[in-house]
Symmetry: D3
Subunit: 114 residues, 6 copies
């Protein structure tokens, strides 16, 4: 994970998502639609929702999910201080087994900020 | 999980936490101290931090953790609409395997609100 | 988990599911609808789909999910020999950490068959 | 994961499995033997067993396990419609955190079919 | 989990294990046999093996598995200081999501020691 | 994972850990400090603690964590026979879903020993 990798990651994710959609039946299509809809502005802001998803992805140690929601958090103007507090919560709840993903996520954030 | 159970749960959790502290060595004590410190107001509010912990606990399907952070969210004035959006994100990310915990968490919330 | 418990479990699950629906927003309602739709007869039979869900629930060690799909498998006429082969696969893939759930699931099946 | 990768994956997996066997003691050897034996034709067909293993591997998000059982399912003549229904069940039960693996698995299947 | 509960737990586990054996086919029987064999004295002592299993069970948050291996560790003369250091490692690696199981395990140990 | 890779892995891990420390707030710094402190010699030896961490990392299928603790176990003079018994326990408890990581870990150990 770094800024270049994140850009390649986004392009590849998009390509594979389209391939998946071309194979998907009715119910999988509905799941993929929901997967976008739930992050729309509501009682909670986009920004809070993306942060919730980032922390959930971290404790589940899903590196692709972290990359995706990290980019979204950056786009929504999350500050570095907010990010690091969220990551501290994820690291304490999920344990040191989340550290490899967190180290790479922070390296990617470092490049997004520079 | 319901309002009565949540109250019993809190008392029992406190009792066992004190017993744990009486057995804990230096490093475990530090971990238990950190486990409180990270939820203090900072760049992110208490309320947002507790919501992050609630969603993380849900995707990890830790029922005691959910009970604990649900009570904290209630105390911090989280609205039902905010809670349900957070739970929808947790359910989509974590899958239907989170539903048993979510059903019981909503039943507990229902009693806290009435 | 036993035959009586499974019957109580089904009633309680239904009650909590209705409560959840009364709280659910648009997207959570859609997820709950999908959660029924995907088990309908299709290219794969109901029976195979329920067996897939039972094995998935076992490796994820979700006891409520196992109870639910075990009842569905029984209703669809799964044989004991088929069940035990599926459980052997789940136990080998998921490891001995699945054994507590499997022991209780087999005790429940034993009562359903008698 | 793609058709070329899957072929390389199989060769490398075989090489490492032989190395593991050369190090394995009595009990690990027995586990490795069981890991083949449980997929033999029985009350459930080979094909159903491999599909159960594929769904279990998906909800556990084990990419190597998915590659292995995807190839086995292809060899046993699983249809694309059957595969996609099984993946929809895995995605709903395991949540959107399974999507990265599923996107790559569908890309690999796409190449196996062409 | 407490000393009385642990005794009831052992009796019930034994009853269900026998029921499982009466249903088990050849391969599941072999798995259950292996599940005993791997804890026999070898290059590693019984005691170390049980401690490894206890820590593995804790990070996987399998409460029945923890009860079982906690009793075995007690039988093999593990000291309280050793136990607490092992639990600190499990808590740090597995995160605060292991705390509910650890609180109850320490309460059970407290009764075993008194 | 192999001997060359393990050396590159250690260097990259160190680089990213330093970057993480430069971003870390007070609480994350404390967690990172604890992550070293808990492996110090105590009632349990360094060697036993690293072996506990290796088995915990294996059942959690954290490949970076396995690499790190495998190197530490090698440094502390763990024998191949001890390692293989620990891995057998991890494989049985965690299931065949741990095999991909175990195959690569054994290949890395093979190079460390030659």
């Amino acid at each position: 994970m770094n800024a270049t990798n994140l850009s390649q990651f986004s392009a590849e994710r998009e390509r594979l998502r389209n391939l998946m959609l071309s194979y998907a039946g009715r119910d999988m299509k509905r799941l993929l639609t929901l997967d976008n809809a739930i992050y729309e502005e509501g009682a909670l802001s986009n920004r809070t929702k993306e942060l919730l998803a980032l922390v959930a992805s971290t404790v589940l140690r899903c590196e692709d999910c972290i990359s995706y929601h990290l980019l979204a958090c950056h786009k929504h103007g999350l500050t570095t201080a907010e990010l690091m507090e969220a990551f501290t919560i994820a690291m304490l709840i999920g344990g040191s087994t989340t550290m490899p993903q967190l180290r790479r996520a922070i390296a990617a954030w470092d490049q997004l900020e520079h």
